[in-house]
Symmetry: C2
Subunit: 414 residues, 2 copies
């Protein structure tokens, strides 16, 4: 089965909203072995919607649309679909009841605008949206299926998981395709490619390797296609076995686990605790750690020591070092890590101190210069990096590098 | 001039990477008054690239492509473009020199794979990419222009800003279109629509209003088209003047400023300082505040008090309250706010304590229950919310709600 996604909204084209729905839909379809062949984003315009529908119906077996179903005047998808299929409107009583109930629960007085959300094209089948007031509509046309869903991500996600994915799986013959992702950190893409060149050349012809570089590492995705899913997984595993001794500790996960999830798992299983002391990352490190459910079992807390006074008063950083070496220095970052480990009584701690920019750089310490320290029961290690001149990138890269430094230390210590 | 974007990469279709490039390109084109009419994402496949190019050349005046230019075998865009245009290859000496220099700077040994990046289709014009090893290639075909850029966001952004945007502006007749975005928070979309219904109906016919709801509020985008840009801006301003008294303090910005930027501006101009004490948001609040350059002028720091011990020892929360009321309670969150304000000696402070989930909820305090407190020189205020059962959404919504609570207090106090 060949699926195409159409996302509708002027806001996508002028860049006010990033289309995250398509990526999420793509990952879900992939789990179900359904092939997504194209994503098209267009504006809230009848002509553009008509053209996109014509194109998609000519090549796809199923079409998933999101967006343009809100209660306000700029949302025209529903009206345009009725016109495209040449049908009239009906009121969907379940939607109407739900709209009334949802609004009264939220203490919002319902208006005509809300009630009109229950009017739908009379040839569609309505799938109830329990998270919002816009209906999800399924159309059948020339033996193909089209589902129009709201663009609000959590409403769309619930509709996909509760109904639409099953509907697609039932309709289509699913392909046999298996993927495995090897997550690496610390080795640049071209160096990685050189290291695994021979291994890559010897991959079976039904396997494909993709390099997915990001600010926080390079993911290697191995995909295999064939008739038997279980056999494909086994032959991927054969290849991964050969890859492990080549890349060694550069591999931090083999199942799409994030670095913070890997660290969480290691700390939980060894019953160890963690704290953070952040200057330049300003809370990004702590918030990345707690993004993992269950983080309270090992993460005690942290100090965001943005101001030097906080470094001195809470983390007991020696004022002399702040004066002689500056806040962005090995001595200060190590004292920050040791200070927070003592303050919050944890087994491990991480500290960051850097110049996120755009101001504050110098010839000796240009913008991007970042010291990271990890303190463990066996001592404190630290290193300096330059993460470039973007504030946002520095925070993300410093956080990933700090987490990886901790991972390496835990591997050594435990 | 009508532009289309084509992003290439299997990783986009299986959802391993979110296409943020298109949104960024859309916002930049919009600044230049250039109309982006469609975004298409396809896989690393010759057939799909050929079909997308055929489609785009039939409707667009210019095409911007990103992705598929990496050094590794899965990247086929360059080869496919040469085939599409039926041309051969040449070596671009400047690219070759740059590849050698860049790699030697980074201490990476260059390989054949790297050198091959300097080979480009012989009919293209190369625009130098100073941030990476993949070349940017400009093709001219049937009076239309196509630019193929690397998919790595910061490389693509630099190429767009330094070369491609100017090239497009020179080629095309730019449209006169003006936008203004009014940022609101605290009023649900349908209630907002009801409040401004009359105002919206009376907008001039050349103006269009779009509602852009997100987890953190609703943005209202007013767009006007016409022949004279300055006149359009003036007439948008006329309409905004009528809107302000209707929405009042629900409007937090009129120029795409974020909530944290607005607060930063208010604190800087009044020379006041801020600190945070976070439980459920785990550093997200602090990291959101410091995402604004110059935050060090007003943000002293914060405590991530994830564990109750940290609430007691650092923030001086009364252990009795933790026992009788629990960590997620009015008394505890107010003491957290007051505790950090005293600890870090700031004028204002914000505290959060909630149940981010998926575990830890109860009938009385279901997952999503979040207390937020703001402490000021004039006292402490607090409120309780329920942000639903998604960990990620609770963190984002709690952060935005907390920042807005602070904004309202600063407006009252200053």
């Amino acid at each position: 089965m060949n699926v195409e996604v159409i996302t509708v909204g002027d806001e996508l084209l002028i860049g006010q909203v990033v289309d995250t729905n398509s990526a999420w839909i793509g990952s879900k379809l992939n789990e179900y072995g359904i092939h997504l062949s194209k994503i098209t984003s267009i504006g809230d315009s009848k002509e553009q919607i008509f053209k996109a529908l014509d194109d998609a119906f000519s090549t796809a077996d199923a079409i998933l649309m999101t967006g343009g179903l809100g209660p306000t005047k700029d949302d025209i998808t529903k009206k345009t679909l009725a016109e495209y299929f040449g049908c009239g409107f009906k009121t969907d009583q379940q939607t109407l009841d739900r709209v009334k109930e949802l609004l009264s629960k939220r203490g919002i007085a319902a208006t005509d605008i809300n009630y009109k959300q229950a009017d739908v094209p009379d040839i569609c089948e309505v799938v109830q949206n329990y998270n919002g007031t816009a209906p999800c509509m399924v159309f059948r046309h020339n033996g193909k299926v089209l589902a129009s869903m709201p663009g609000v991500p959590f409403e769309m996600k619930a509709l996909m998981e509760e109904s639409i994915l099953n509907l697609l799986a039932k309709e289509g013959n699913t392909l046999s395709i298996e993927h495995k992702t090897i997550m690496t950190i610390g080795v640049p893409e071209s160096m990685l490619a050189k290291q695994i060149e021979e291994w890559e050349s010897n991959l079976p012809t039904n396997m494909k390797l993709a390099y997915l570089p990001s600010l926080t590492g390079v993911r290697l995705r191995i995909s295999a296609t064939g008739s038997n899913g279980a056999q494909l997984s086994a032959s991927i595993e054969e290849e991964v076995k050969k890859l492990r001794p080549i890349l060694q500790e550069a591999i931090f996960s083999e199942n799409d686990e994030t670095l913070q999830e890997v660290i969480g798992r290691m700390l939980k299983s060894s019953n160890k605790s963690l704290s953070t002391a952040e200057s330049c990352t300003g809370g990004t490190l702590a918030s990345t750690i707690v993004s993992t459910p269950g983080a309270s079992r090992y993460f005690k807390g942290g100090v965001v020591a943005y101001d030097d006074e906080v470094k001195k008063s809470l983390l007991k950083v020696n004022p002399c070092y702040l004066f002689t070496d500056g806040a962005v220095s090995q001595k200060v970052v190590e004292q920050m890590a040791e200070g927070v480990r003592e303050l919050l009584k944890t087994d491990f701690s991480i500290a960051t101190s850097g110049i996120a920019g755009p101001d504050g750089g110098s010839d000796l310490k240009p913008v991007g210069t970042t010291w990271i320290a990890v303190s463990t029961p066996n001592g404190t290690v630290s290193a300096v990096y330059n993460f470039g001149n973007s504030r946002e990138r520095t925070m993300v890269r410093a956080t990933a590098t700090a987490l990886n430094m901790l991972r390496i230390q835990i591997l050594k210590d435990l």
